[in-house]
């Protein structure tokens, strides 16, 4: 671990990142810039290329874009500044300030099985915005082309044309599959696609800053109603300083016509990213939401503290899938993202259903517990997780299933994989309240160890307060099976391929829960994340 991780020494308001990266050239960079590359095709290429570039982090480049920073550090003035930059109404500014004052009273939680140096919260930028965004772009054409190139590198079909090009047969985008994307670059949302088409269905999909301006009633009603301002240290910090994020509203009895997606990118150095996502699924609606995250390779750690709130009314269904691939730090544990995330879905309505699926391969530190409050009768929560920690990564992740309504059901499937010198912890809570009669939970958490210097841990909390509910919890820890490896090797696979295959088999239940293309990407990511862990 780099003891100085969170501190840095450069002047505010200026970019200087390229030098940082200059001493570690990325072989992939030129390839990845090929303009024809798109995310689906990228899967195969990626696998081929990364085999040639063992252990490298594909998204480790950074983009030299002029940025607008707020001064370093955190104070009421900074919060007012963020609020003003987003042209927020007074109630929003007050809400942030309230959170900030609460945050000052709180202590950073240290109960997770994570070791990292003290974070200096005053040595961070809390607001960074691409300069070209200072004048809010009227359309994607106004967006800095460098920014668009960044997203191209990430494989995000940001421009609608790119996707449409796929339909016209130019690229391998599968016909019929369209994804609306909101892209968040450092602190600010840079563009949302397919807005017009979504609007036709009544779906609102925009950045949260825009939603605060355009749909204040909805935001005011629901913001902080799932994750209260002072929920926990990191969520409170987020409430005070969040600069952007995505907002989704699905009207009653509407099936969102396409998958919605947000890509988060931390680019600027020494910048904390604090995005806030709010999803409201009204009665009888359905949406599938995808989230992806990457960050450049840097020697010093960066802070990320996000909040995701999901509100589900009667009969609503939300699928939330994440592929978290923030920069994990190098083999020696230098740099990487410190990822402290609060995600919670509130199944307020009867028969509502939420499904969290996460593939956690990145970040130096992961502190993340996507949760379900099952308040509506017959509501249902599911959590599928793959957490891979390699080299010096540390992950402490899991879920909370809080059963409050009658006949509520939950299912937890967690697959943790540790390799190198990594530590991987499943931490979860299943709580059956006295009124949550006839409810059901099934939990399975399996851990796989690759090598004898890593650790795999399980910390479940089970609280059962009525007798008509059934709770079952199972956990196992084992190593990659020698017989399976031997079999694969005897079929001509090399050891790394064999391990990847066995691990993919181990994760299968979770991979199957992902939307199809995402699943392919995740499968490739599983293999890549484990590179260098064998032998």
């Amino acid at each position: 671990m780099n003891p100085r991780s969170m501190n840095a020494q450069h002047e505010q308001g200026r970019r200087k990142a390229p030098e940082m990266n200059g001493n570690r050239p990325m072989a992939l960079e030129t390839d990845m810039q090929a303009p024809s590359l798109d995310v689906r095709e990228g899967v195969d290429r990626e696998t081929v290329e990364t085999v040639a570039n063992m252990g490298s982090y594909k998204y480790g480049w950074d983009t030299d874009i002029e940025m607008d920073y707020a001064p370093k550090g955190l104070s009421e003035d900074i919060i007012r500044l963020i609020s003003a930059k987003n042209e927020e109404p007074d109630w929003m500014t007050d809400w942030r300030l309230q959170a900030y004052r609460r945050w000052l009273q709180m202590a950073e939680p240290r109960w997770a099985m994570l070791r990292y140096p003290q974070i200096d919260y005053q040595d961070q930028f809390y607001y960074a915005k691409p300069k070209s965004m200072t004048q809010r772009p009227k359309s994607l054409e106004d967006v800095d082309p460098k920014l668009l190139a960044t997203y191209e590198k990430l494989g995000i079909p940001l421009k609608e044309q790119m996707l449409l090009a796929g339909v016209e047969g130019a690229e391998a985008v599968s016909p019929g599959r369209r994804v609306a994307v909101d892209a968040v670059f450092d602190s600010v949302s840079v563009g949302t696609t397919f807005k017009a088409e979504l609007a036709k269905a009544g779906v609102i999909f925009c950045s949260i800053s825009e939603a605060i301006r355009e749909h204040p009633d909805l935001v005011r009603k629901y913001l902080g109603s799932v994750v209260p301002q002072s929920d926990n240290f990191f969520a409170t910090l987020n409430s005070a300083v969040f600069s952007d994020g995505s907002f989704v509203y699905i009207p009653p009895n509407t099936r969102c016509p396409m998958e919605l997606s947000t890509y988060f990118r931390i680019n600027a150095e020494n910048t904390g990213q604090f995005e806030r996502t709010l999803i409201i699924a009204d009665k009888g609606s359905y949406v599938s939401y995808l989230e992806g995250c990457t960050a450049p390779k840097r020697d010093i750690a960066q802070l990320h503290a996000a909040v995701v709130e999901i509100v589900l009314l009667d009969d609503a269904e939300v699928k939330y899938s994440t592929v978290q691939n923030w920069f994990p730090g190098d083999e020696e544990g230098r740099g990487g993202i410190y990822n402290f995330v609060t995600k919670r879905a509130d199944c307020r309505g009867a028969r509502s259903r939420v499904m969290w699926t996460q593939v956690e391969t990145g970040s130096a530190i992961t502190w993340k517990y996507p949760s379900c409050l099952l308040r509506g009768d017959d509501s249902q929560g599911e959590f599928y997780s793959i957490a891979i920690a390699n080299n010096m990564q540390q992950a402490d992740t899991g879920t909370k299933m809080v059963h409050l309504g009658k006949r509520t059901r939950s299912r937890i499937v967690s697959k943790g994989i540790s390799a190198g010198r990594a530590q991987n912890t499943y931490r979860g809570l299943v709580s059956m309240h006295p009124r949550a009669t006839d409810s059901r939970n099934y939990t399975q958490c399996d851990s796989l160890l690759i090598g004898d210097r890593c650790g795999a841990h399980t910390v479940p909390y089970i609280e059962v307060k009525n007798n008509s509910s059934r709770v079952e919890h199972e956990a196992t820890t084992s190593k990659v099976d020698d017989d399976q490896l031997f079999y694969c090797r005897s079929r001509g696979m090399d050891e790394e391929e064999a391990v990847a295959l066995v691990v993919n088999g181990f994760c299968r239940e979770v991979l199957q829960a992902l939307p199809m293309e995402f699943a392919m990407e995740a499968q490739a990511l599983v293999a890549i994340s484990l590179e260098g862990s064998v032998g």
Partner: protein, 431 residues
Amino acid sequence: MAAPKPRGDLRAEITAARIAALDLPQGGFTAAARKEALARLQAMGLPTRRDEYWKYTDPTALTAPEAAPAAVLADDEPPVFGALDALKIVFVDGLFDAAASDDLSLAGIEISRLAEAGDIHWAKGLYGTLEAKGQVPVARPLAALNSAAASDGVLIRVTGRAPRPVELIYRHESEASDVILHHFVKIDPQAELTLLESGPGAARFNAVMEVDLGAGARFHHIRVQGRDHHRRAVTHLFARIAAGALFKSFTLTMNGALTRNEAVLDIAGDNAVAHVAGAVVGDAKTAPFHQDDTVFVTHDAVGCESRQVFKKVLKNGATGVFQGKILVRPGAQKTDGYQISQSLLLDGDSQFLAKPELEIYADDVKCSHGSTSGAIDETALFYLRSRGVPLAEAQSLLVLSFLADAIAEIEEAAIADAITQRLEGWLARRR
């Protein structure tokens, strides 16, 4: 940056108040060890409800300077281990009762009392050491308090195969008794001992047993905690298990306003085996019932097996807690760790709170845990009733079958039968 809130104040206050109320024994071979234990206690401070390790059990009644009184139960059952030919050592409210006890010299093994041991004793240099080691990584301040302040206890050394079991009987006769006992058991290589414990002990009972097993030694421990409804108890069992040794402990808890049983097992030698099991039946109708099993098993050697089997039957708003942990240290390869905690909730008011943990730093291991909670299986009940079994009897049968896995951990059939009879009696009284 937010400064952490001052939280130590409350802890320091209750710790100072408790220590002030203690009657600390002076002199003897344990003097130095007691002084160190007191220093440990002062450094750690007593637990509070805010401590993660006490999340599900409120320690206030155990840490208060004075013990709350507890009514003495008129126990009409014959002694649980009466049919066994055991050497009896009786404590009445913590005081050794020579008249009721057997002659300690007849045991065929070395037994002495803590309160009577002089300055020179084999246990010098051992007393309190396993407790001290068990304070890491989780603090157990009530055990340190015990080492510092224990008024009595037995020191048992076994060099061969003990000819008969030793039974420690704890009678409770005074409503206001507040008792601290500390035992040390040393079993030399290849030696073997069966140790029985029975009775409620006191209104408030704090017991520590340290067990040091040599290579290839065997230790069987069966404990039945008394039926007194209002009693409160905290017990700690610290064991160091050398290569090839076998450690087996079983506890039956019936009734009790508060019981916290901690077992801290350190598997230090290769190919050793450690099992710890518990059966709990709790009915909160007469008095509150709160029972907590907290187990910490550390694997620090190659090829060892550990097994935790805990079953709880809860009724009328009773609370059952299980906190179990398997820690596999780096290098403890070929570990086979197993843990199961299950509760049967006989009504809607009872609750089961569990935290079954694994912490593993070696890759060639097989570790698993399971935890379930639910009501009596209606299908099984229906089947029995369809065969003409009356409802109450069918329920008792299903409760006993639920507890069977825990009782199966007792090796000797006669002892297992004695335990089953107790359970049948408890169930019969509630029909």
